[in-house]
Subunit: 93 residues, 2 copies
Amino acid sequence: MLKVNEYFGGTVKSVALENAEGTATVGVMEAGEYDFGTATIELMTVTSGLLDVMLPGETNWKTYSKGETFRVEKDVRFKVKANGQVAYYCLYL
Amino acid sequence: MLKVNEYFGGTVKSVALENAEGTATVGVMEAGEYDFGTATIELMTVTSGLLDVMLPGETNWKTYSKGETFRVEKDVRFKVKANGQVAYYCLYL
């Protein structure tokens, strides 16, 4: 059965999948700023919308748009800021 | 509140979104063959996995992979076949 995950009081929702490409989720976040933690390396790709990202050790936001991917290391925290609803694909390495 | 949709007894689940790019869903389908209907023109992009598609009037399956998009007209039915779990982004025009 496909698993639906909810975070931050339902303002981020995702559906998990696993196939030949690996273990991943696709999801949507409402406009807002979020502080995420990682348990594995994550490759996060923006599917729709614009996502500002501040990775560990960085002090500036960098904007990622449709089709762009950023990598987040294992066991860190990072910040994202969505100005509108943003869809993403997150692959767990 | 983000809306989660379930189809075909939960073997297809999606999350709806709306932003500057339009109204869309991101979702996952379990391995299987599905017959979908459209209420608008749909632009469907494979986010992960391989999806065989048979559009109205066609008699052969065509395989779409990660990043590829197909267009489905309004008020038609079309078939898709997922060999494993497939993630997609569907934009409603």
